[in-house]
Symmetry: C2
Subunit: 151 residues, 2 copies
DNA sequence: CTTATTGCAAAAGTTTTGCACTATA
DNA sequence: TATAGTGCAAAACTTTTGCAATAAG
């Protein structure tokens, strides 16, 4: 159901904004395309990108991720542990998947749901607040950790 | 409707856990009690606590906030900007208020709702994930910023 | 007297920035 | 040849930690 973006589409989107798809930026994009449905930390992206562009610098990765986020090509996630995580955007579907973060083992799974649409409408009319995005995270214990008595 | 904790109750809670309510810790608690319904950054708490305990160190503030969070006396919030924010806990009511974060002026307002209870039940049964907490943030533009064409 | 707590400074960790160099249109 | 982009190192920033000094039971 996901409308996955292709490498070519991303290249076009960059060039439409007068940004070049340099080898370094391409390396970052390739890493993200190779790891859909995973939330990569910047350091992980950096290390993986080195396989495509060995001389890439960490600063370039940060700068590239900032660009990709600004163009809505990727989404940034914050688990509250002081590190940003990134994932390829999934257009509108993206809006309605939430994160289940396990306090036992740190695993992150997803839950698809559109219940929040109702809530957003409610907020928009009650508070006159124009919502453009949201972030919903659930903290708890996954099945495995519950069995291991960690929850 | 909020069941506000008193200074004495907090003292009892600390002592029940073999923790002393030192002047420094008392200063932090006073700051938090004086700023209910506000999400203070650690640095702000540090500066405000200095009025009660001039010699308090930043490390002590961090250590105190960690203790208070562990005892569920305060709640930690993460707006995704790399800084933690804190607020006095409001027991069970706390669970069902969400944050509206304005991308124009940075103002944070709250929205009370219990729709998420349904969603939590759904997740618990579908994913066998035992939820203990959640965080829901909406990003958008407040009424004022919409009028100022910032949204 | 024994343990908890503190302040300070240093360290750790992520992210940003300055700048000279390089690649590209 | 202008300009965009890069790598490196340094800086910025929040948070944590080691440790000697202090306070409290």
């Amino acid at each position: 159901m996901d409308k996955q973006q292709s490498f070519e589409e991303i290249q076009e989107r960059l060039e439409a904004n007068d940004l070049r798809l340099t080898p370094q930026r391409a390396a970052v994009v390739k890493v993200l395309l190779d790891h859909t449905h995973t939330h990569l930390r910047t350091e992980e992206i950096f290390l993986l990108a080195k396989e495509f562009a060995p001389d890439i610098g960490l600063a370039t990765v940060y700068r590239t991720l900032e660009i990709l986020e600004r163009l809505n090509i990727i989404n940034r996630f914050d688990y509250g542990d002081g590190q940003s995580r990134y994932e390829m955007g999934r257009d509108t579907e993206e809006h309605y998947h939430h994160h289940l973060i396990c306090l036992g083992c740190g695993a992150v799974s997803e839950f698809e749901d559109d219940l929040l649409e109702m809530l957003e409408d409610k907020i928009a009319s009650k508070c006159q607040f124009k919502i453009v995005d949201h972030s919903l995270r659930f903290f708890g214990y996954c099945k495995k950790c519950q069995m291991n008595n960690r929850g």
